[in-house]
Structure formats: C-alpha cells, structure tokens
C-alpha cells in the first residue's frame, strides 16, 4: 500500500504540473489584459491553442535534420522532468531524491541546449539571432541560478528541495542572504521565462525577439510541445519560488485526503498570487535593450555571490 500510494502521489504530481501549466499561462495573460483594461482571451485559451496545434500538420523546412524533429520532444521531456522534481503540494515524493536543485538547473540547461541547436538547424538568420541572444542570457542566468542554489543550500544544509522546504517550514526565518537570493531568483525567473524586461512573449519584431525567434520555424505538434514546455517552465519557477520562500501548506510526510486537498488549495492560491505579481510587474516595466539585459543579470549573479559569501563568513546570516 505504502509504495503504491507513493507511486500514485508521484504520478499525480507529474500529471498535475502538466495539466496546470497552460492554465497558469492563461491566467497571467488574462490578468495582464485586465490590467490593460482589455477583456483578454479566456483563461482556458492556451488549452485550445494546444489542441489546435496538436491537430495540425507539421511543416518542416526542406533542409531541417532529425535534430530539428527530435528537439521538441527532448525540450518537453527535460522541462517536464525538472518540473516534476519540485515539491508542489507534498515534500519527499518517491523519486524526489533522484535529482536536486543543481540537477533541475542542469535539466533546464539541457532543454536550452536543444532549443538553441534546433534554432541553428534550418540555417536562417532568425534562428541564429535567437540562439545567439539566448546563449548570452543563459550564460549569465545559469551561474546566477547556481549561486542562488548555493545560498539556499548553505542555509538549509542541503541541495535537496524536499529537505530545503522542510527546513524552511520548521526552522527557517528571516535572513539577509535569503532576501538577496529571492531578488536574484526573481530576476533569473523572469529571464529564463522570456518575460518583460528580458524578452516580450507577445512580440514578433526581429529587433527584440529572443525566444520567439528560435521557434519561428516550428509548427504543428512540435510547436505545441515547445509552447507546453514554456508553460511548464513558468509553472516550475513559480513552484520553485513558492517551495523555497513560501512553503506554507506543503504536506510533510502526508496522511489523509483532507490534508492533501488543503495543500492543493494552498498551491493553487500561491500560483494565483504569483501570476498576479508577474502580470503587475510586466505591466509596470518596459522591455530592456538586449545589451542592457546583461547588467540586470549581472546584478542577479552578484546578489547570489553576496548571499553565498555572507553564509561562508557567518552561518547565521
């Protein structure tokens, strides 16, 4: 019974993130539209988009290779596995020990590697422009993320997200280093999800686009997988921030259906709040010039380093 329940719980988590991801994207879009005094598309619109894309033919460029066709599956799988490793409503799931926070960062790196390689595959300038900018952003965002990981891991004494969440629930308190890590993590999350001020998910202007330029040649089910992976990544970062900095409501070694239902409600609430914050933030700032992006990410890297440094010098900060 124990093993089967644990397996079910793990499977439930994997399905949960997959099912919720488009809704979060829809929710952010809806909130943004409402803040702009538009009606906006319904929250369920991303599901309809996905269904429509899955049903369509794939139009492949003449000179694209097997890598172009395989990449969407790898991008989706890597993002999905990474998202499933983050505690959403319960800690210590059956397979949560198979990868820690560093592995999650690296899995997202795997997705990005294939994304950029696929962008270069057709040999168009758009693919190149997107890949080139994405690599620049990633080369600063990834080390910043590793430094954030270090900060959090030094506080909690573990890189394992379940342990970190349990630590934050029980003994965590206000610390300078965690504050720095939170600011840095928000910056990295915005960059990794191609949100304003780094990238505009709603633009197709060649001067500004990064992520959209990389997926320009994709269509049909391939595009659907990439869109789904993008939604999953947004959900992943929201869950990550929630799990480290707001672990309230997480089930630790859970029992009972009611406890889990409560945890699920708490998780949904957190996602809603995060979406609202994201929409408000995106409404209130402008997109940056591409070469100013490195400054902001450099700040995130420095904040991560500062947090780690504080903890090296004094464990209590």
């Amino acid at each position: 019974m124990g093993v089967i329940a644990a397996l079910l719980m793990q499977f439930g988590q994997m399905v949960l993130v997959l099912v919720l991801a488009p809704a979060v994207t829809g929710l952010v879009r809806k909130m943004k539209a409402r803040l702009q005094r538009r009606v906006g598309p319904p929250i369920l619109q991303p599901y309809r988009d996905l269904r429509r894309l899955f049903g369509k033919d794939v139009v492949l460029a003449d000179n694209s290779s097997w890598l172009f066709r395989a990449a969407p599956y790898v991008i989706f799988a890597a993002t999905w596995v990474a998202a499933a490793l983050i505690p959403t409503f319960q800690t210590g799931l059956l397979f949560s020990w198979s990868g820690d926070l560093i592995a999650i960062v690296a899995l997202l790196g795997l997705a990005r590697f294939f994304q950029a390689a696929a962008a270069l595959d057709t040999g168009t300038s758009f693919g190149g422009i997107g890949a080139s900018r994405e690599l620049m952003i990633a080369s600063l965002a990834e080390p910043a993320m590793i430094m954030i990981t270090f900060t959090v891991a030094l506080v909690a004494g573990s890189t394992q997200l379940s342990t970190i969440a349990e630590f934050m629930l029980t003994t965590g308190g206000l610390r300078v280093s965690l504050g720095l890590a939170l600011v840095a993590l928000v910056i990295v999350a915005l960059a990794e999800n191609a949100r304003i001020p780094f990238d505009n998910p709603a633009t197709h202007l060649e001067l500004t686009m990064v992520h959209e330029a990389m997926v320009l040649e994709y269509s049909g089910r391939h595009l659907a997988l990439i869109e789904l992976a993008g939604s999953l990544r947004l959900l992943l970062y929201m869950s990550l921030i929630a799990c480290i900095f707001a672990p309230i409501g997480l089930v630790v070694g859970g029992t009972g259906l009611l406890v889990h239902a409560g945890a699920l409600v708490a998780y949904m609430l957190k996602l809603t709040v995060a979406s609202l914050l994201l929409a408000t933030f995106e409404m209130s700032v402008a997109k940056m010039r591409i070469f100013r992006v490195s400054d902001l990410l450099g700040i995130a890297l420095m904040l991560g380093l500062l947090g780690t440094l504080l903890l090296f010098v004094s464990g209590g900060m």
């Binding site: 890598l67 999905w80 040999g123 080390p143 089910r221 010098v313």
Partner: protein
Amino acid sequence: MGGLLGCVAALFAASFFGFLPIRRHSATFAVYGACFAISIVLCALSIPAIAAPASSALLPLGLPWLGAHFRLDALAAVFLAIVDLGAAVASFYALGYGTHESEPRRVLPFYPIFLASMNLVILAADAYSFLFAWELMSLTSWALVMSRHREAATARAGFVYLLMASFGTFALLLAFGILAGPDGAFAFDAIQARPLSPAISALVLALVLVGAGSKAGLVPLHVWLPLAHPAAPSHVSALMSGAMTKVAVYAFIRISFDLMGPPAWWWSLPLLLLGGITAAAGVLYALMETDLKRVLAYSTIENIGIIFAALGLALAFKACELNGAAALVLTAALFHAFNHMLFKSGLFFGAGAVIVATGEKDMERLGGLIHRMPISSGAFLIACLAIAALPPFNGFASEWLIFQGVLVSPQLPQMGLKLLVPAIGVLLALSAALAAACFVRAFGMTYLGRARSKAASEAREADRWSLTAMTICAALCLLTGIFPGLVIDALQPAALALVAGHMPAQTANAWLSIVPVSASRSSYNGLMIFGFLGISVWLSAALIHRFASRAVRRAPFWDCGYPGAGPIAQYSATSLAQPLRRVFGSVALGTYEEVEMAPPGDTAPARLRRFIRDPIWDFAYAPLAGGIGWVATLLNHLQYLTIRRYLSFVFTTLVLLLSVLAIWG
C-alpha cells in the same frame, strides 16, 4: 608490475613497425593495431591494480648509483587506466584515420614511444626516471606536432611548444632538486621521508605549478596549448588533450599530495585562484575562436582549470584534516579527469572526421554536415552534451560532485578561503554555463544549418574504424553518466591513499544513486534521470503520434519574403558569439569592433572588423620575449672582444668563484 613494464617495452618495440620497409598502409595498420592491443592490456592490468596493494620494481637502468625505480600504487593505477583507455580508443580511431595521413612515416615511429613515455611518467618512482620519461613525452609529442612541419603555423606552434616544454621540465628539475636535498636522495620514498620547511615548500609548490601547470595548460602558461594541440594529427590531438594533460595533473598530484608531505592550508590559494581563472578564461577564448580544433584545445584549458580548482579545495580540506570532504573533491577531480579524457577524445575524433571529409577546420566554412555525416554527428553531439555538463551524461556527474565539494567548504576555518571559495564557485558556474554556449556553437556551426562551402556540401561519412571509436567514446560518456557510483567507488583507494579519507560506498545505495555526504543533504541518480527523460520522450511521442497528428509537409524555410538568401546569410560562428563577446570579451580579452562606413553616395560596402587581444600574451609574453631579445643584443657584443679581454674575464670569474667558496665553505 612486470606485466606493465613488459607492455611498455612492447610499445617501444612497436615503434620499429614504423621504420620497416613495408607498404604505407600495412605499416599504419601494424603500428596502430599493436598500440591498440598493448593499450587495452595495460588498461586491463591497471584497473584491478587500483584496489590492489602497491607493488614496486627496481631496474638496473639510468643512473648507476640510483637505478630506475618503478612503483604502481592506487593513484598511478587510476591515471594509467585513464591514459591507456584514451590511448586504446585513439589507436583504434587511427586504424581508419591514419590511412588518410599524407606522410604517415612522420607519425608512426613516434606514436608508440609517446604512449610508452606517458606510461613511464606515471610508473616512475625516482626523480631521474620521472624526468627522463617526462622529457621523452615532451619530445615525442613535439615530433608528432611537427609531422606537418611545412605549414608555417605548425612550425611556429612547434617552436613555442618546445620552448614551453623545456621551461616546464626545467622548473620540475629544480623542484626535484630541492625536494631531494643536498644528499641527492632522488627515490620517491626517500623524498617522502624528508620534512620541508614552509619557505622551501612554497618554492617547490611554485616550481611544480610552473612545471606541471605549463604542461597541463594553466593560465598564464597556456599559450602553447591552443597552437600545438590542433597542429598535430587528430588522434594525437585527442591524446595530447585527453591523456597528456592528465599526466601533468598526475605529476602535480604526485608531488603536492604525496611527496611534499602534509600540506599547509595556504597551498590551496594559488591553485584555487589559477584554477578558477583558467576555467573561465579558457572557455572565453574558446567562444571567440572559429577554428574547430582550437575551440577544443581552449576547452581543454577550461577543464584543466576545473580539475585544478577541485585539487586546490582538496588540499585545503586535507590541511584542515576534513578528510571526508577532501576525499569528495579529490574524487570529483579524478572523475572529471577521466570524463574529460572520454569526451575530449570523442570531440577530437569528430573534428578529425570533419577534416578528412572536408579538408576544412574553420567553422565559418562548414555547416550542414549532420545530413552527410549522421553517425559521427550523433557521437559529436553526445560528447558536446557531456562536456557542457548536462544530465544524464558524465560531465554533469563530476561537476555536480565538485559543486557539492564547494558546498561543504564553509567548514574551512581560514577567513582567506571563506572569501575565496565562493568567488571560485562563481567562476566554475560561469565556465559551466559558457561551456554549454561554446558547444552549442561548435556543434551548430559545424553540423547544423546549410553548408557554407563546396567542400562541406560534398562531405562523406567517416570510415568504420573512426565511427566505432567515436561511438565507443559517446557510449562511455553516457554509461559513466548513468552509473557514476561505479566510477566513484573505483576511485576510493586512491583517495584513501592520498587524503586518508574516503566517500561513503556508492554501489550499495538504492537504485544506484550517488550520495556524497548523506541522503538528506544531496543525492543524484543518473539512471533515474535518464529513465525519466527516456520515458517522457517515448510517452509524448507515442501519445502524439497515436492521438494527434503525425503528418509532415516539407516546404522551404521562411525567408522573410527575400528569396535567394544564400548560405552566407546564415549566422556565422563569429556573429553567434557577438553578444557574448560584447558582454564578456570587452573586459576579459580587450575585444572591440570597428565599423567602416563608406561615405554617402559611395557604393563601396561597409566593413565591420573585430579585434581580439590576448592580454596575457600582450602583457607577459611579448615584454618577456622583447627583454630576452634586448639582453641577447647586449650579449652579442661579447663575441667580438680581444683575447686579452677574454682572459681577464676568465680570471675575474675564477676569483669570484673562489671568494664565494671562501665565504660559504
């Protein structure tokens, strides 16, 4: 022990196949076949020797009062396994690749001696045989680099390499001289028994860093490496990058962890600093380079930096008697050395296949090879993923261990280290991220897109020997990435011997996950991640093909309404790295761009020029070379003096020497 030395003797004998008056192809086949067989035997003998007790031998060779000492302990066995596995795959690859060589007789006689000398360096247990084998290794590899000496670039590379190699050996010679002391106790066990004062140990450490570091490619002694490694034939490049730099790492570990006795904590400072800077600088250079083999050579510098930074942490832990943590980072460093041998060999094999197929190694003239070289592009892709430290491949496992080592280092009591280690952590994280960018670029520009030259559009897949060697490297990258626990456990005897500590046994863990300290602290399971990735890919593909659409239409790519954009309109290797060059290069490498616009009304094209300077070359080597030239010009006057002047010089020297003797004696 006897078997190993016999194999080394057989390697020396195999070099005679290169001289035999037989057909070129037969000679190639005989030499590389023999080298492959002997290397496999050496590798098979050394792996069980890691866990076996140390054995030694004394041969009546070399200095008459010293003899030649050889010793096989856990550390030597680990590096023998790394070097000989690399040698075996390189020889196998050369069975096919070597037949494309235009002048094989320039390579064949030196290749087996090069392999033998690397083995001898690792087996040597006295200063004389160590330095003899070290110099033999330098000279044979130099001869291999010079096999295409008619190219001007090769001649320059050979010159710089020879200078740096002799300089490095000179530093090692001095280091051993100081270690052996005034009695001339050159055998390693005699050196071990001598305690060192702090000033002496600082001097020895500096000399060893120069000697081993210049061979390994530590910044600022790296300048020869990106010249010499790419100039050699590709299987030799693979060996030089994959195996010879590991021999240098071995020399450093042997002297600093073993011969110099218990370390002081400040020994780790230069290592951490140089390692971190080398890692970041190496990959930045690689990102600016467009020659495929030079990209790989620069990335070797990066990986050496990572290994040395980990070794620095291990020394610090050992000095503070945190033996478990020291074992963790030392294991990580050895694991990374093994991994780097695997993926760098695979990458150089891929580059060699590209050169054979197209005659080009400039990425600006390649592209689209994935269509014409499907198998080698797949193997190259896996090696790229591994070197970019992405799961589930082996590069990630070892870098993950190093990061875990950084995370236990707040236990170190010294304030200097507390401030330095986080900074080194940033440099390592930065170099990991930049390595991913670098290898997306290397793979994308070489294999993806449209062919940028006629040669690239007519390329043909490599021969079967080469493909097999590449596939073996790729498969081993995946296997050691999925089962890192096996390698970690195999390395523990070496860690136990050097830092008197060991990591917990990994093969006993459930589901073969690796747990460096404790399960609640951190764990990683390559097998599980691989399984999850595989299942997710399979599940999504199966579901989509079953329930959604599986139709495919082919159409031209979107050209923005401007038809006829040739392959030249694609992003090039230079333009792909432009944002990175602007962000990082302007500070670290002094890069800048100049735009030359035609005056209004003129139809001449606008030109963009980029300039990249190597600040180390500008600020260290150029002044040094200039200074030497200046001194040489001054000394030149001494050639044209009268006999009386010379006699008076002789007299003055004699008086000076005698007075020195009178004061000290």
